[in-house]
């Protein structure tokens, strides 16, 4: 077990190396020059050349990569080209709000989706099933920028009870934070809930017919226990997988929700950096996300073994 964990963590190194290399090359594949992007329309060639020299963009690619990677090994992610902030604190400061939003959205999604999915599966082809699926599909078809705006219209304008946007640090003002969290978390949660609900339903349908569910019923235990402990207990693997994926996607950033709610998350930061060709930030963000994914997936794999004793690690 310990060996396995160590092995998985050790596999981070080649992954990070690969990711850093790909990230480095990919962002440079995109046309456009950070110096030009920074200096804008007015800059003359001299200013651009000066900036390029300052950013070491005039050096051969491999040199750029190695000096970046070397600094990285020392924990130095460099500074943003746009505005000169240090990359690591910049990413960290954006990851916090994203993580909080993600957690809230996932929680909302789970609270809605799992019961809805289970009910839809157990009451298959009844009104409950149809309504749950219908609502889920509405949630899916409604892009988050629309849902977000509609929520703002409803809860900030028509019934002005929640702020339309903005992020309040929970350390500064917990109440304010929670109020600012509600709408974006709902927006995101709704989209997640739709998939989780449908996945839960499908997965439950797979197991509800199993012989062991029949055995459970033959024991005369409470129907809820048959459904939750026996059926749902066996239906969790795809759901957990999906949650792992969702968590990854959320932590990678949710640009649109962040944009609509002016939430200072990592998604918008990354996308802005991509568009500004802010190489160090993009590279740093990709590395950070890759690390997070590897950890999330490791956690997912461990959870599998807890859910299903037949699953082996390694």
């Amino acid at each position: 077990m310990g060996r396995y964990l160590l092995g998985r963590l050790a596999s981070l190194l080649p992954i990070l190396f690969g990711t850093s290399l790909v990230a480095f090359l990919l962002i440079r594949l995109v046309p456009g020059d950070p110096a030009v992007a920074l200096l804008g329309m007015e800059a003359d060639d001299a200013a651009i050349a000066a900036l390029r020299a300052k950013l070491a963009l005039d050096q051969p690619l491999w040199m750029q990569y190695f000096s970046w990677a070397a600094a990285l090994l020392k924990g130095d992610f460099g500074r943003s080209i746009q505005g000169g902030r240090e990359v690591l604190p910049l990413l960290a400061s954006a990851l916090g709000p994203t993580a909080l939003l993600s957690a809230a959205a996932l929680a909302i999604s789970l609270v809605i989706a799992i019961p809805a999915g289970v009910i839809a599966a157990t009451r298959r082809n009844t009104a409950a099933d149809y309504v749950a699926s219908f609502v889920a599909l509405c949630g899916l078809s409604l892009p988050s920028f629309w849902l977000g705006i509609l929520l703002i219209l409803t809860f900030s304008i028509t019934f002005p009870i929640l702020p339309a946007s903005g992020y309040v640090s929970p350390l500064a003002d917990m109440g304010g934070f929670l109020r600012s969290l509600v709408l974006p978390a709902l927006t995101l949660g709704a989209a997640l809930a739709a998939s989780t609900m449908r996945m839960t339903r499908a997965s439950m349908l797979e197991v509800l017919r199993a012989d062991y569910v029949r055995t459970a019923r033959a024991k005369g235990i409470a129907p809820s226990r048959v459904i939750w402990r026996h059926a749902f207990g066996n239906a969790q693997i795809p759901i957990v997988t999906l949650l792992g994926i969702q968590m990854g996607q959320l932590l990678g950033g949710v640009v649109i929700t962040e944009t609509v709610f002016a939430w200072p998350g990592i998604g918008k930061l990354t996308v802005d950096a991509i568009f500004a060709r802010d190489y160090p930030v993009v590279q740093g963000a990709v590395l950070l996300t890759a690390t997070l994914f590897v950890l999330i997936n490791l956690a997912t794999d461990l959870i599998y073994t807890l859910i299903d004793p037949r699953m082996r690690v390694a």
Partner: protein, 363 residues
Amino acid sequence: MTAPLLEVRGLNKIYRSGGGFLRAPREAQVVKDVGFTVGRGEVFGLVGESGSGKTTIGRMLLRLTEADSGEILFDGQDVRALGPAALRGFRRRAQMIFQDPFASLDPRVRVGDAIAAPIRLHGLRPAGSVKDRVVELLEMVGLSAAHADRHPHAFSGGQRQRVAIARALAVEPELIVCDEPVSALDLSVQAQVVNLLADLSARLGVAYVFISHDMAVVRHLASHVGVLYAGRLVETGPAAAVLGAPRHPYTRMLLAASPRPHAAGRRERAEATGEPPSPYGREPGCRFASRCPHAVAACRAAEPPLDAFADGARFAACIRAAELGPETAPAPEGAPSPAFQTRMALLRAARAEGRAASPDAPA
């Protein structure tokens, strides 16, 4: 005589279980030092205590579970050393009928397709006649073509078992590991299947490792038997000898406990005493000692070796085997009633008559 079809030597298997997320695994030696040989056309009956490792041995023979150590020679070839391609070749020649037929059938595949797939895979019949072959196989095990397009869940337990048998036979293997192949069949179908297996063995030289708890069936089919107790062979030898004159106390106990039809009422069976041994952390000495009526102090000291005795064709792992001597054959069955005998005679006669009248007419 050429090399036997299957030769097993020193097979061992340890399971690590409970090695979950937080706990350290526990080790259980479930198969220890098992060896036997099966010649072409022979049936090796493997009987023994439930949980003694029969299924595990069967799975190891086909490399579905990897043995920890030991040798499995199939037609002189070391099965444990086969590469992936050679392994597939080997599996065309050796088959397994699983203990739980339902678990071993893909719920999403119609049984007709399940049987046809290996035929197609190994190109055993031209494409056009695969269907016919499937129907033929189904009928061999007492099912009909109508069953071919059903999914496993729509079958009864015995029907599933027959599907599993038909599927194994489809490959036309030289060796079949049968794990309780007839336990879920009614006697008539059981007779049909047993006859079929015997026929294949006689005509085509198919060999079986036949795992069963039914001593009558084992006696009927097997040429040799091995008696397994707690992962170890405690007695082996020719079937008639072992089952007719058991030497090991466990074998005796098995035979004594075997129910017999026509017995007048319930016989008082010697309720086995003691606990079956735990596979985790075995105590030294004979595994059966805790339940053995003949156990002495020496039995608990050291594991008795599987010693040859008598003519050298029989082996038993009991230090007192010689001393105890062969048990007399178990008490004869209670005599059938006159009414029974009359009607049975009528049945035989009527059958014989019917067959003579139309040799191949369906009943």
